[in-house]
Amino acid sequence: MSVAQIAQGAVPAGARRAAKRDWTFVVALAVLAVVVIVAVAGPWLAPYDPYELYVGPVNSAPSAAHLFGADDLGRDILSRVLVGAGASVFAPVVVVLLSTLLGVGLALAAAWFGGWVSGGIARLVDVIFAIPGLVIAVLAVTLFGKGLVAPVVALAIAYVPVVGRLTRTAASRELGKPYIAALRVQGVSSLAICFRHLVPAMIPIVAAQMAVGFGYAMLDLAAISFLGLGQQPPAPDWGSMISSGQASILAGAPEQSIFPAILVVVTVLAVGIVGARVTVWAEEKER
């Protein structure tokens, strides 16, 4: 067993077992459905204007009027969490889509051209891999300014090595199968093999990777917002709410940090369970 296999098998070991129990999967899917609805419809669901100051008592605990309480500036925490869901959920989606596009593109190019192109791409991927994702994001923020755009692009680039290597391995394995050789013998063109057989065969593996990647992207972006380099105040986002609530914790009002933190954890757990299920599904298809 190689290190990569152990690393891969180790991540969802328990989650893999959990994914076999249907109710966990159903609950996780339901949680994700709610999160997506909130992310899309947050602004309409919010009971208050998330930017309006002093709609409730400063640093107040949950009450009938403010279900999640009010923050250090008297803003309604529930409204801010609902509106902030948009950036917190869709920014990681963009990271995953961009990195998959880049990673799969580079992997296919490497497999297609081989030779020095493949070598150059491998070297590039090694260099990106040598720079921790957080460092790439911080460098991007320094050059292009705070906000979500620079970190999203930076993380997409940082995730390329993982996506690229996985796709490359899966593509080589698929290309080694007898049916590909059979198609070649029959005179089917390489281009047709690539797009009609290779790409469709890899969809389950890439989908599983995207689900797992979303969880990581969400945690990384929330961390960057927590550090004050992502979503800028007063615009809400779960990571920045957690960090701006730190002063309130010391004042005895943890709600401003705790509620968005719970949402991050629950969303990531749900994505993990669904991701493990998709991985199992992809592996079963592989056989």
Partner: protein, 317 residues
């Protein structure tokens, strides 16, 4: 030249090339912005004097490759340039802060190895109930990022119970350690869960292998089978992943440092990024990348020394 020496030389060459290319990326990224003077000035207002000063300091009239080379050779000799935001040599900013980050990371590594490897061993050897309990705990742990654990610890142990300080790094050995406990836990939780899974997975793979069955059948005591066969054969794989994890801690430490107001290089990096202080960000990034790459290579090397067969294929493939 034997396989191991050849592998070492190849690794060293690859390591230096990767570092060189990464340093080029870090240095030349500024060209993407189109206006290096604004980037180098950071938050400072670019007065004509400052622009002239920056031009002189960074030799902006020289060709870019020459500037890069001077930056790199300077950095290797410990000359990290000047910060225009802090108005001081970058070296004097980095040196004292690096010690704090190093101490935090070391404490975190101890926690990860003791609790991560420890719970992994328990999960693999103490029956189903323990295995299931550890699996549940690690499932939760892997969804608990540093910033969430940090605010929970601040809320419970610093604010409500008042057992630990909320902020700062403290003076003296014991006070420092006392200040680093909560940050280290916040940084360790996710990785404890991860290493626990890796350890369990590697051990279970060994426990089910033929040579372990053979050893048991021959009547070798369980403890000895575990030490001499199971753990020894699983350790290169555990070490390789633990090494990568530890290498990443130096960058991840920024989150714990910011949450607990520790003046390490991570929080320096974040402050510098927020103020667009490019010279500081470049040097700290280069430092973090060097640590990351060197520690990763070291983990590979240790794995190779324990299990020479991993040189061909196996852990290094």
């Amino acid at each position: 030249m034997n396989t191991l020496t050849r592998m070492l030389l190849g690794r060293l060459g690859g390591l230096l090339l990767t570092l060189l290319l990464a340093s080029i990326v870090i240095y030349s990224a500024v060209l993407l912005t189109g206006d290096p003077i604004a980037a180098l000035a950071g938050g400072a207002k670019p007065t004509p004097e400052l622009i002239a000063e920056i031009r002189a300091e960074y030799h902006l009239d020289d060709p870019v490759w020459q500037r890069y080379w001077e930056w790199l050779t300077g950095a290797i000799q410990g000359d990290f340039g000047r910060s225009f935001v802090y108005k001081t040599a970058v070296t004097t900013l980095v040196a004292p802060r690096f010690a704090i980050t190093l101490q935090l990371v070391l404490l975190t590594v101890v926690l990860i190895l003791v609790f991560g490897v420890g719970s992994g061993i328990l999960a693999a050897t103490r029956g189903r109930a323990v295995d299931r309990a550890v699996a549940t705990a690690t499932s939760l742990g892997m969804a608990l990022p540093t910033f969430v654990v940090a605010i929970l610890l601040i809320w419970i142990f610093a604010k409500s119970l008042g057992w630990f300080p909320v902020y700062g790094e403290g003076d003296g050995v014991w006070d420092r350690l006392w200040h680093l406990v909560l940050p280290a836990i916040s940084l360790a939780v996710l990785f404890i869960a991860y290493i626990s899974r890796v350890t369990r997975s590697a051990l279970v793979a060994q426990l089910h292998s033929e040579h372990v069955d053979t050893a048991k059948v021959r009547g070798i005591p369980r403890r000895r089978v575990f030490g001499a066969h199971v753990f020894r054969n699983a350790s290169p794989q555990i070490l390789a992943i633990a090494g990568t994890t530890i290498a990443g801690l130096f960058a991840a430490s920024a989150i714990a440092e910011v949450a607990f107001g520790l003046g390490g290089i991570g929080s320096l990096l974040v402050q510098a990024a927020a103020r667009a202080d490019l010279p500081v960000v470049q040097i700290v990034s280069l430092l973090l990348v060097t640590i990351f790459v060197v520690l990763n290579a070291a983990a590979d090397l240790v794995s190779a020394l324990i299990d020479p067969t991993s040189v061909e294929g196996g852990a290094l493939a």
